[in-house]
């Protein structure tokens, strides 16, 4: 459905069901250069299991108007404005990669609005290598290729997709190709510049779930040690064999983990 946020269309997918504010809400936030479609399976599940689903396209992504926001904090503020526009007081917030930082930040700065957080394929901080920043700034297709190559485990580059007949890395790169120039770079800069994450983690009072991939080369599990220690109420699910693209590589296991907290 479309909402008007900041005088612009904000697209939120509702898992194929009608928006129902009487149910407990879950907001899903995608990663850098992506859109709501990465969440198609879990959003369809929760929409049919007593949850009100809002899977956002951040500004400048997917079907949402506007320019990509410049910081994780701005994205978190925007997510809360989406809740305001939809007339919702509280929500669980689930984020993948960059989206996980948004979820964390929203929970820290808006504790009365976020009842639970799931951070899928995360690390705090989330630095981005110079090569990726420079190629994405140039809107060079090589940036998409790097993200696709590093974003999946070695096994996923062979395949064996849980979704029959679908080539994981093919779908991944096609989604990234849909971005307008500058969007991916803005997202990567936002990730790289998010330095307040560990401080924010100390401020989070709601339960937090970390869902990590053991073969994640972009946000390796070993980089979440400080995050885990800073969070007051945290549980971690480590999925063996999976890379950063957990939603593609282990969709059912990610869903099983989310069910615990959402």
């Amino acid at each position: 459905m479309e909402l008007q946020v900041d005088d612009k269309i904000a697209y939120v997918a509702t898992g194929g069901r009608v928006f129902d504010p009487n149910l407990e809400t879950v907001v899903f936030v995608h990663g850098a250069g992506q859109d709501h479609t990465i969440w198609v399976l879990p959003t369809r599940y929760f929409a049919r299991h007593d949850r009100n689903v809002l899977s956002v396209d951040l500004p400048g992504h997917g079907r949402s108007e506007g320019h990509a926001l410049n910081s994780v904090e701005d994205m978190a503020d925007w997510v809360v404005r989406v809740l305001d526009t939809a007339g919702l007081q509280t929500s669980a917030v689930v984020g993948h990669s960059m989206g996980s930082l948004v979820a964390l930040d929203a929970a820290a700065r808006y504790p009365d609005r976020v009842r639970a957080v799931a951070m899928v394929a995360t690390s705090v901080p989330l630095p981005v290598i110079d090569k990726l920043l420079t190629t994405s700034k140039a809107n060079d297709h090589a940036a998409l290729e790097m993200l696709t190559l590093w974003g999946y485990s070695p096994s996923a580059h062979i395949g064996g997709n849980a979704t029959p007949g679908m080539w994981m890395t093919g779908g991944g790169i096609r989604l990234l190709e849909r971005n307008a120039p500058g969007v991916l770079h803005a997202d990567l800069v936002a990730c790289n510049n998010y330095v307040a994450g560990l401080e924010r983690a100390e401020e989070v009072s709601c339960p937090v779930l970390l869902v990590l991939g053991k073969r994640d080369a972009m946000t390796p599990p070993r980089a979440t040690g400080d995050l885990s220690r800073k969070l007051r109420d945290v549980q971690t699910v480590l999925l063996t064999g999976s890379g950063h693209a957990l939603l593609s590589e282990r969709p059912d296991e990610v869903l099983d983990a989310l069910i615990r907290i959402v």
């Binding site: 062979i158 093919g170 190709e177």
Partner: protein
């Protein structure tokens, strides 16, 4: 972070889509010869039916053996996903019915496989889908043939049997300017020689019966979605952009993004029309696909030797093969098909129809049958077989003369092939 390496084509041909079997450790792809699959619980069953979880429900819709083949061809073509069908014809039909209904129109190359021509010219009109056929070399003709109700532009990488090289980039431009996708039949080329998606096509299909399977043992088709075409921006494809009653108002573009087309094709087309591939067939085609790069190189090498031999032979009037400088698409072929123009070509024997018949009937090693792309060498006379339903005008329009002989050169020892041809040519001139 070190620079990542991507697996190359030859490796993907062997491995893509398959991990060692989790239940048994089997290295080869198991043949999941099962009609259906047990659910863990009622909720699990519902979740798979409702596309909330992954999994298999019924082998008409998806099967683990087929899934390996589907992933593999997607990887090799550079697509987002694929569906294995009962035949190449079924793959073409699936593409058409996923995109359009009665009252729609297709612009197609006129130089296409006889079965394709049948489907488009005679059968689909009964269901309200008409086709205009155009000269594949005339890009403007594609443009002029587009009507308000056109929903697809179609051609073959190499025309059958005229071997016209389709100018995929230019035809794709014409299609896209009209908000239409380009579907390309890449049966003659396979992804080893041509990747239509990289040249601008949106959808690709194969008769996997041919070079992909490579051994003439199984009938099958493969339809690949490039995941590139913007169905929403086109505004002409309500099957993909509007709620679908047959699946609880699912809007495929909205929920699946780049995978909208192939998801609809599976959730509706394969489900309802049912032209699925059997698991055993998928296994057989996978066996062939594993050696696609090796076989295609041998096919090309042998074809070049046979073509050169025929070109120099007194009993041969002409040879039509895009790698020959006198072929109208020689330069275009060098650009679009730099690795070679495949293993199918045509030639005309002096003495016309009777000489052609005499030639074919003398051959021992070349098999006279209706197929191409077998590891074994094949030969046929199209006017009396694959294109026999076309009238004289249609044959001429498709570039098929009565004496035309089509060869599909296999991977035998080339000396043996040439020896066989020599005997055939001698016999042809005694008729």
């Amino acid at each position: 972070m070190s620079t990542p390496n991507n697996y190359k084509f030859d490796t993907l041909s062997l491995h893509a889509g398959q991990q060692p079997d989790s239940a048994t450790g089997a290295r080869a792809t198991p043949i999941y010869q099962t009609a259906s699959y047990v659910f863990r619980s009622a909720d699990h069953a519902a979740s798979i039916f409702n596309i909330e979880r992954t999994g298999h429900v019924y082998s008409r819709i998806s099967n683990p053996t087929n899934a390996v083949l589907e992933e593999r061809i997607s990887a090799l073509e550079g697509g987002v996903g694929a569906i294995a069908t009962a035949s190449g014809q079924a793959a073409l039909h699936l593409a058409i019915v996923t995109l359009m209904g009665a009252g729609s129109h297709i612009v197609s190359s006129q130089s296409v496989y006889g079965g394709t021509h049948n489907l488009l010219a005679y059968t689909m009109p009964r269901f309200g889908i008409e086709t205009t056929f155009v000269d594949p070399r005339d890009v403007e003709a594609f443009r002029k043939a587009i009507q308000p109700d056109t929903r697809l532009v179609f051609g073959e990488t190499l025309g059958n049997p005229g071997l016209e090289v389709l100018n995929i980039p230019e035809v794709a431009k014409v299609a896209h300017e009209a908000g239409l996708p380009l579907l390309v039949d890449s049966t003659f080329t396979t992804p080893h020689l041509c990747k239509p998606l990289e040249l601008g096509a949106d959808l690709v299909y194969h008769s996997a019966t041919k070079f992909i399977g490579g051994h003439g043992v199984a009938i099958g088709g493969l339809l690949v979605d490039g995941g590139i075409f913007d169905w929403e921006a086109s505004g002409k494809f309500p099957t993909l952009t509007e709620p679908y009653d047959g699946f609880h108002d699912l809007d495929f573009v909205e929920e699946f993004g780049p995978a909208a087309f192939i998801t609809r094709a599976r959730k509706e087309g394969i489900r309802d029309f049912g032209a699925c591939m059997s698991a055993n067939t998928a296994f057989l085609i996978l066996q062939g696909l594993e050696t696609l790069p090796l076989r295609m190189e041998k096919h090309i090498e042998n074809t070049r030797r046979v073509v050169q031999y025929l070109k120099d032979h007194d009993a041969v009037e002409w040879v039509r093969f895009p790698e020959l400088p006198d072929h109208p698409d020689f330069e275009l072929a060098r650009t679009l098909l730099p690795r070679g123009c495949g293993a199918v070509f045509c030639f005309g024997i002096k003495g016309g129809r009777a000489a052609g018949q005499g030639f074919i009937e003398r051959l021992e090693l070349f098999s006279h049958l209706a197929n191409i792309g077998d590891a074994k060498s094949l030969v046929i006379h199209p006017a009396s077989t694959t294109h026999h339903r076309m009238d004289a005008q249609a044959l001429e329009a498709a570039g098929i003369s009565s004496g035309l002989v089509r060869m599909s050169v296999g991977i035998e020892d080339p000396a043996d092939l040439i020896s066989d041809i020599e005997k055939g040519l001698r016999a042809s001139q005694k008729v």
